[in-house]
Amino acid sequence: MKLSTKGQYGARAMLDLALHYGEGPVLLKDIAKRQQISERYLEHLMVSLKAAGLIRSMRGARGGFTLAGPPSQIRLSEIIEAMEGSVVLVECVDAPDVCSRADHCVTRDIWAEMNKAMGDVLDSTTLADLAQRQREKEKSEAVMYYI
């Protein structure tokens, strides 16, 4: 039940863009530096994010990446789906045809419930929420140093 690095790092790259939303195009190398992800791997992630319509890229002297919309309108579920494919823990939950037991299987019901619990968190969290939590975390860290 593990998320791949594509999903983990993709989420962090998107968070980085959300934190710098409105500041103009963001350079790949800056995201790489701040998020401690290799530029090469990040390029690979940005291709998927762009294909999913979650980010835009601009070429030229003032080129770079931006979110395709405001952070408050991009849900984590969309990001994870773009990076990992469908967010399903057990195949039969979304595709009952893969197993002949699907319509009378109570373990399928509990996998579905578990999947929904995960889906609900991802659906209800936007990049704006994460950016807000990050700012609050950084503020409280700063306060710690002043005590």
């Binding site: 039940m1 983990q8 401690q36 037991r101 509990i110 578990m114 995960m118 860290e141």
Partner: protein, 145 residues
């Protein structure tokens, strides 16, 4: 989730369903659950080591749950078969990543783990047995209409 988690849960559910009827034969679980006997034998050995299942040898030998179905939570079953339901390792072991203390995506993965664990902890094998019986009754009714 791997086949171990999925098939293992169904094997334990089978034992729960037949709890109190005496030792259950691997071949019967295999038949009812559509799983290979060889795979089940291997699985039951692991489940015994984890204290979830007991075996009895001899003519009327077989396997049985080591505890009442109502005392076995699905969370415990998954923990034994799959390990932690965490989506990312840093949730359980912050040391794997230097960013753990300041990382809000880690907080998100932790929230997801909590939500999923909540579902698994709230359900026992007995709950699954009862849900199964209801489903079977409803299925039987359908045929009599």
């Amino acid at each position: 989730m791997s086949t171990k988690g999925r098939y293992g849960t169904r094997a334990l559910l089978d034992l729960a369903f037949h709890y109190g009827e005496g030792p259950v034969l691997v071949k019967d679980v295999a038949k009812r659950q559509g799983l290979s006997e060889h795979y089940l034998e291997h699985l039951f050995v692991q489940l015994m080591a984890a204290g979830l299942v007991n075996s009895t040898r001899g003519a009327k030998g077989g396997f049985a749950l080591a505890k009442l179905p109502a005392q076995i939570r699905v969370s415990e079953v998954i923990e034994v078969l799959e390990g932690s339901p965490a989506l990312v390792q840093c949730v359980d072991d912050p040391k794997v990543c230097a960013r753990s203390g300041i990382c809000v995506t880690r907080d998100l993965w932790a929230d997801i783990k909590t939500a999923m664990s909540g579902v698994l902890e709230a359900t026992t094998l007995q709950d699954l047995v009862e849900q199964q019986r209801k489903k079977e009754q409803a299925g039987a009714l359908m045929y009599h209409i």
